[in-house]
Symmetry: C2
Subunit: 143 residues, 2 copies
Amino acid sequence: MSDTIEQKCLSKGVKLTDQRKLIVKVISQSKEAYGDSDHPDVDELYSRVSKIDSKISIATVYRTVKLLEEAGILAKHDFKGGKARYEAMIESHHDHLIDVKTGEIIEFVDEEIEKLQIKVAEKYGYSLVDHKLELYGIKKKSQ
Amino acid sequence: MSDTIEQKCLSKGVKLTDQRKLIVKVISQSKEAYGDSDHPDVDELYSRVSKIDSKISIATVYRTVKLLEEAGILAKHDFKGGKARYEAMIESHHDHLIDVKTGEIIEFVDEEIEKLQIKVAEKYGYSLVDHKLELYGIKKKSQ
DNA sequence: GTGAATGCAAATTCTTTGCACGAGC
DNA sequence: GCTCGTGCAAAGAATTTGCATTCAC
């Protein structure tokens, strides 16, 4: 039911070169290999793909993530910290809860918030095409 | 009831030099002069203050907005587009609805969403310390 | 072959910093 | 005189780009 990134590229006419395949592979494995909290930046992606193909250039990584983002295949996040971070777009949209102390990222979905967002946009005469919700929190002592 | 930025600086021990006063003044007038949609980036602030004092340095603008942000006096936003943008912190928190075509920014508050955010954080064992909600929309044809 | 993708390094853009000078107490 | 802020220019970090080469069809 859920297309792989490779399949999405094909269906959107994004040509898959060897380098792109590798980058796509690394991104696809991101959560499995590093957990849901994994939202690598370009440097991190570059270092992961470099381990497999050391000849790949960081310019290619930049170009590829940009391409994939524009094709709607990757989501780009500008969390606090300056560098853009990426993750595969998946059907089920989710938002992020970020631990301000550890940097850990928890993904969540809240249907009610989603609905309210649409309502707010409509209230101002807009159709919602995208949104970004980030919660920053501190872990409570377990009680 | 609502302190001016200058007052906040005094109460937080931020020394106000002539340059800082000028920057603060320009930020304070931002919404009045340019509308609620005004969220200037450093370049824009620099160009506004330069018109009044052409000797001011952009480094000072960068240093000042950083200082004020750390003092909790300014809010820094990383909207899409790469450059950080600023606005005065006001008591009443608000979020942003951004017109993806025109770049216009509408500020809104939705108490229900605010409450749900806290609930979500709590659900995962966190206290919410900050959040960011941006809606991106397209204006509907008036009906 | 031709057009697109890559690698490399240089260029850009945004932001920070080192340092000498200047302002205020 | 000391401390802190400022201006300037240089340094940094993140990202993009020009160009010659390479790759895929």
